[in-house]
Amino acid sequence: MAVKVKIPTPLRSLTNNLDQVPAQGETLREVVLALDGSYPGMRERILDDGGEIRRFVNVYVNGEDVRFLKGLATVLGEGDEISIVPAVAGG
């Protein structure tokens, strides 16, 4: 699957300042690993030591929080838009 990934400011130092990059993968986990291939360092920024999404990172597929889907096992469709967004408090 070819998907689009929106890159938040803190990660743009890894993507030569691109705010959106293409990636390939059947699942979210595969996409994160593919990103790490193109932009080394991406994996450890998004995932913790246990290989799970870091506590203060929110990942959305087409606007839906992946915790309401299948997390890293979420299966992706062609053209899906993935957003990586730091968690912020307030209200």
Partner: protein, 419 residues
């Protein structure tokens, strides 16, 4: 004199300069302001604070902004009221209410915005913005108007009329987003990377969040430079709840009070209870929820400070409770009928949870407790409009009035009955 020193990642401890940034570049942990507490200790005293203005600016030495940029419409130093009638109703010996309904835009959010807008002006921002469950929108719009700044506020599309008009009246660009607060928050986080605005709870969040500590400062000062045995406060993102405790700890750190031993308990609506549910499950990892509650001000299903709120409950031997919609309405009514304070839904959640925590014995009768009432009732009239007594409708005649009154009371009453 400024005592803020740096921004520090709460997770990995990396430090950053005091810029409009909010997230650790390495681990995404939230950045928090670090202070020179020795400097503050030397600059402050009980007497000097007590002689300060009757606003949150009496704690200027603790705020991470230059007061020269402040927008002062009278926020803070709100009443701490002894609530004997409510104490009796819930079964406590001593209860206080921190009545933060009386701020300029009628919620505690004026505190966080006071700090955020001062810092934003210091940074040179020309426009303010926020993602809000309603109250924050009101506070940002009001302070921006007073400062003559452009303002963009983003709210979910299911808010009460009082909250919508309560923003619109200050003439911001008001944006209603299809979806819940969590959708609004995600949108704004993305927008904050593209627009040169100070989003109070995103890119200037580290400064904004510090404003809530003033609630802790005030309660400690108003109790006579000491802290209570127990606190009950509402939780949406969990920020307020953690900053009250931080305020107590900092007052101790700079020598103004003894070490706080307060048990900190949080209140949520049952229909949006990610933090309270995790507390009951005994875990620090909450599961996000899709909110369904009349307490729209607390309807954050993905609470960014939930983890820290849960850690704080553990650390202080506090807890959490949750209230159903009916209990929230009962809570609003009980507070109004016993203490003369009309709160919005968050206050109903707080009172209902206070009652449950006392009933279950979690808060002991002899624990001196402070409940935080954080927003005013006229903002959420919809919640109670069907739950209050209908007025007696009468022609302007004494006999008609007497008849209507005895009909309501089920027996003859009043002057004519006795005559």
């Amino acid at each position: 004199m400024a005592f803020e020193r740096a921004l520090r990642c709460r997770e990995c401890g990396r430090e950053y300069p005091l810029n409009p940034i909010y997230s650790c570049e390495f681990c995404f942990g939230p950045l928090e302001v670090a202070y020179d507490y020795d400097g503050i200790r030397q600059a402050v005293s009980r007497d000097a604070i007590a002689a300060g203005p009757s606003t949150l600016w009496r704690y200027a030495h603790f705020l991470p902004c230059d007061p020269q940029f402040k927008v002062d419409i009278g926020t803070g130093y709100t009443p701490l009221i002894r609530a004997d009638r409510l104490a009796k109703a819930v079964g406590l010996d001593t209860l206080w209410l921190k009545n933060d309904t009386v701020n300029p835009s009628w919620s505690f959010k004026d505190r966080v915005v006071s700090v955020a807008i001062a810092r934003a002006r210091e940074f040179g921002f020309e426009a303010m913005a926020c993602a809000s469950t309603g109250n924050l929108a009101n506070a940002v719009a009001a302070h921006s108007a007073a400062a003559g700044m452009d303002c963009y506020v983003f709210i979910p599309n299911d808010l009460e009329q009082g909250k919508v008009v309560g923003s619109a009246i200050y003439r911001p660009t008001l944006v209603m987003v299809e979806g819940s607060y969590d959708d609004v928050n995600r949108l704004c986080t993305e927008l904050s990377m593209e627009y040169p605005w100070a989003f109070v709870n995103i890119n200037v969040r580290p400064y904004y969040a510090e404003g809530s500590r003033t609630l802790g400062f005030e309660v400690a000062e108003q109790l006579g430079w000491r802290t209570p045995d127990h606190v009950v406060a509402p939780m949406a993102s969990g920020s307020l709840f953690t900053k009250i405790w931080k305020g107590f700890q900092e007052f101790h750190k700079v020598g103004l009070i003894d070490e706080p031993r307060t048990r900190m308990s949080g209140a949520q609506a049952a229909g949006c209870s990610p933090i309270a549910t995790a507390y009951e499950a005994g875990t620090l990892n909450f599961i996000p929820q899709k909110p369904r509650t009349i307490a729209r001000s607390l309807a954050i299903g993905n609470p960014a400070d939930g983890y820290y709120a849960l850690k704080q409950m553990q650390e202080t031997h506090g807890g959490a409770a949750m209230a159903t919609d009916e209990e929230i309405v009962e809570g609003i009514k009980l507070l109004a009928e016993t203490e003369g304070v009309f709160a919005e839904t968050a206050g109903g959640v707080t009172v209902a949870c206070l009652r449950k925590l006392v009933e279950s014995g979690f808060i002991r009768r002899d624990e001196e407790t402070v409940a935080f009432i954080t927003g005013a009732g006229l903002k959420t009239v919809e919640a109670v409009v069907d739950a209050v007594d209908q007025p007696l409708r009468v022609p302007a005649r004494t006999d008609e009035f007497a008849a209507a009154l005895s009909a309501r009371r089920g027996a003859p009453v009043g002057a004519s009955a006795g005559a």
